[in-house]
Point group: D2
Chain length 313, copies 4
């Protein structure tokens, strides 16, 4: 289901080429005055059309808050943020051919042919815009906690080269979170890794999540591994910085002609994905990863209640 969270619940809706996308956020404390300039700055980091490396689709991505805010402060009731889709050219996607590397076929089967195919519909990376909006709010509610992600490599040359070839590239994003208290997370099914990875794997194109250099650890001896400064042990934060990275696959929409098939007839076909696409989504995915971390960690913070054995204090 399209709902995330235990205490800070996020419900995302919308399709890439429908009237609007958005998010309902339940669990914001009352009386919180979001710094909307900061929210806009986060949205801008993710927005398309900003520079030579990104898709020319220009969406203002301005969020209308239709509930939960009064005189600039949260009321405690659910906050709904709505983003109208504006620069939509459905013609680009009208064919019902399967785009290789996309969810088209899986969605076609799952939804019995009724899914909104245009621009990936509900499976579009565009749905990360409301996620960034929610994350920008969560982040402001984590004072003293720093979340910083960045692309592992300088990708500029690789991106320009791929673009010139009508191709695309992927990459790895590293993220560090400092300032977390020890004791967040729940044992077993509610481990910090479980809850963050569930959210990170919701982001389209992310195919791997590694905490605390997990693959490197797997090759060490215990005596060396034990000297690692773990941000999470037993699924619980240790008070040390939390580190994770994610693998982002290359943008599947490329200008090169590819072999595929028609979803309706099943017949083989050739496809050249025309729309407007990033040759690499890694730069725009960086703020999305930070947003996911903020949402997941704020939810964990809310769960770390302080109702004691002596009742209300």
């Amino acid at each position: 289901m399209n709902i995330y969270g235990e205490r800070f619940k996020i419900s995302i809706f919308g399709e890439s080429h429908g009237p609007a996308i958005g998010v309902v956020i339940d669990g914001l404390p009352p009386g919180f005055a979001p710094d909307m300039a900061k929210v806009k700055a986060e949205m801008a980091r993710r927005a398309p059309g900003k520079h030579a490396l990104s898709t020319p689709r220009a969406e203002a991505d301005s969020v209308e808050i239709v509930s939960g805010l009064l005189a600039g402060k949260t009321t405690g009731a659910p906050l709904c943020g709505l983003i109208r889709n504006q620069d939509v050219r459905s013609g680009d996607y009208e064919e019902r051919k399967n785009r290789p590397g996309h969810a088209d076929y899986a969605a076609y089967v799952k939804y019995k042919g009724f899914s909104d195919h245009r621009g990936g519909g509900h499976f579009s990376g565009r749905l990360t815009a409301p996620l960034v909006f929610a994350g920008a709010l969560a982040r402001q509610l984590l004072p003293g906690i720093e979340i910083a992600a960045r692309s592992r490599d300088d990708l500029t040359q690789a991106i320009l080269a791929a673009k010139a070839d009508g191709d695309s590239v992927g990459g790895i994003i590293d993220c560090v979170v400092a300032g977390l208290p020890a004791g967040l997370g729940e044992p077993f099914f509610g481990s910090v890794e479980s809850r963050l990875s569930a959210l990170l794997f919701s982001i389209p194109a992310i195919k791997a999540v590694e905490f605390d250099d997990g693959f490197t650890l797997a090759g060490l001896r215990g005596s060396a591994s034990n000297r690692t400064e773990f941000g999470i042990l037993g699924g619980i934060t240790t008070g040390k910085p939390l580190r994770f990275c994610v693998a982002v696959k290359p943008t599947p929409s490329i200008a090169l002609e590819q072999d595929t098939f028609d979803l309706v007839t099943g017949q083989p076909a050739k496809i050249t994905v025309e729309g407007r696409h990033d040759p690499c989504i890694v730069p725009r995915a960086v703020p999305v990863v930070e947003a996911a971390a903020a949402i997941g960690l704020f939810d964990l913070c809310l769960s770390a209640h302080e109702y004691g054995t002596g009742g209300f204090s």
Copy 2:
């Protein structure tokens, strides 16, 4: 919280050195006659004390089914499986020193000093026994679906060498699932990767989860990546085999002396973890990974309902 699942709910309880561990399973279809020999075989794959490479702690790990089964068939009501702890030597763990690489400190903070420290308590790898039990049931309810995990490398020499040094090693486990229909999973927060990774990261010592060779994909161009046979796209199964791997960190309990501190006093200390520990948990983690996959996939199958727009059929 210690509950997993949407339609096939697993609730795990117990501590390593308490009276018992177990699991309540809600969502088993009625009339299912589990093959208990197969269940025992799965439990035996995970059980300690079987060979030279594993801890000599010998637990029969026999499961008493105390509810939900009548004349060998499920009733539809919750099934509770109970495993008594038998070969417990608490003396091994009575100290309140932090064991490097373990959850001791994080649990101590989280539970305000009241966590059951003995043998890792609720954070012990022993809690994977009820997970394997639940997985062994789920697996039998996935006819035609094959789940096979294995250690990526021949670890025998490395394990013996580490053991001789009083040290330990980790490793990587690959898993393939064949026979899944297309269309399982939910968009965004309910992606197959989200739901499986949440469960896999519940397994102690797992620090990374990668689907469809994600880190390799991250280094490819889109034109090459798109030729991958993806088991999951857009969070939804494609009908192709699902492939993932997990990184297992080395057993943190080692015989070598390590620097640490006392949890109660905070004073520096030396520690030699005495108990009985595997020099490498990878072999025993293989059936646990398969069990997690079976549980997560069976839950996803139950969610792929067929109530149509025409009502009950």
Copy 3:
């Protein structure tokens, strides 16, 4: 939290005098073509300002569907329905006096003074409009199942008399559901009564829920009670018609002067609730009760899966 449902999830947002109210609906099967005329008819039954007995506040209550619908058919992705608030006169409610019988004080404490007080904010009966919208969709997905509620008494004379006095009245609503199959519901915490009552008690002003003439049954002997045609036994539907009733308290907003206190200062005060209010909400609550029944029962139907012990069929 503001989310209802296991398999058919409803997430409601909005305040009476904010920009908009609405609902996100997750779990609609794909390919469903809602009859929008029927949806409008249900909305009209609940809408204010229709006749002499109801508040003159005139809201078109037209729903904009901003996601989840393509060419008139559901896509399978979440459907968001948005209702703009139009005829808002906040001045009517600007005072921060506690309105007797309203949630004002409880909300003031809960939200630390930041709740949207205007028109009851998120606690307004206006939030039942998106519920009716969701119910109107659910209802169309329950072919062969009839849901019919009605006011127990002819209330017209009592309403007119109360209105003339600047006062209000309550009432009882009976509801019958015919055509349900046997076997819906889950034992213990998922009983049909549990799930329906949780939803019915969400409707503002409802203070009692009785199934199968429960209070009458309480006074019978078992030999007589056992002859009742129960719609639910053990929390599970029997295949017989389901019958329940709800008690609706009188509209708390009345024109008569009442004693109260100022929420901010705590000082005693007099209040005359000026806005525009129904002298009796029972007639408008009838379609809301039907909508709640449709939502709850459709969710229960989706949960009554047919994945068997032999796997996918």
Copy 4:
């Protein structure tokens, strides 16, 4: 599903005549030392076989705590309480005739003939024993909050008369909760009435739940109703005592011969329910109602977190 709660999660399992019944409780704060004498006293209030008015089935109902407790204090991990079934005489129930007023037929359909029919199986009132156990723990974590239920009428004469006739009676239980702070509960779907009623309707035989004299209010004018001392308004506690009542139907198991049918063949039959049954379950249901109130209210208290807009404090 058989799980209740947002922050204080209760998972109940077992059948009346199976090996054991029990409960897994997740969300107990660490370091809580339950007064086991008080727990036993609550269990004894519900236990059968104590006096002339109750079934002679004598169950010790002693609870073995198999996890989550160390040296008499909660560890913070899930606590599992196990109650062995001892005095079981399955012969009493071996027939597969439908017992009028029982869940037999509904369960038979739901579970496709595989439900445990003996003594009502999972639908038995015996499953309220683990509920009382959980409630007895929750209650001790609500210092300053008094929960008191009692039968509305002196039922002794009616019970003895019904028993003499081989018949049974029902009744009404009133409950008052004093000492609750204002502000508990969530708007709309998480109203206090929603959450408590969901739990109360889980108790077998309860067919109606009324808060704050709801049916009486329905007959008042608003000017009178508004003078009620409401314990709940808008779904949120007001700080005033919370009052509710429940209707309990008569014990359906009676010694008198009744018309019924055979579940397997569908043929008409006569039945005389032989087992050992209470002529009235109201006295034993009183502590069950209190336990349900304690569980629901403790869960609501845990949800009323105090994480503010300034982060951890």
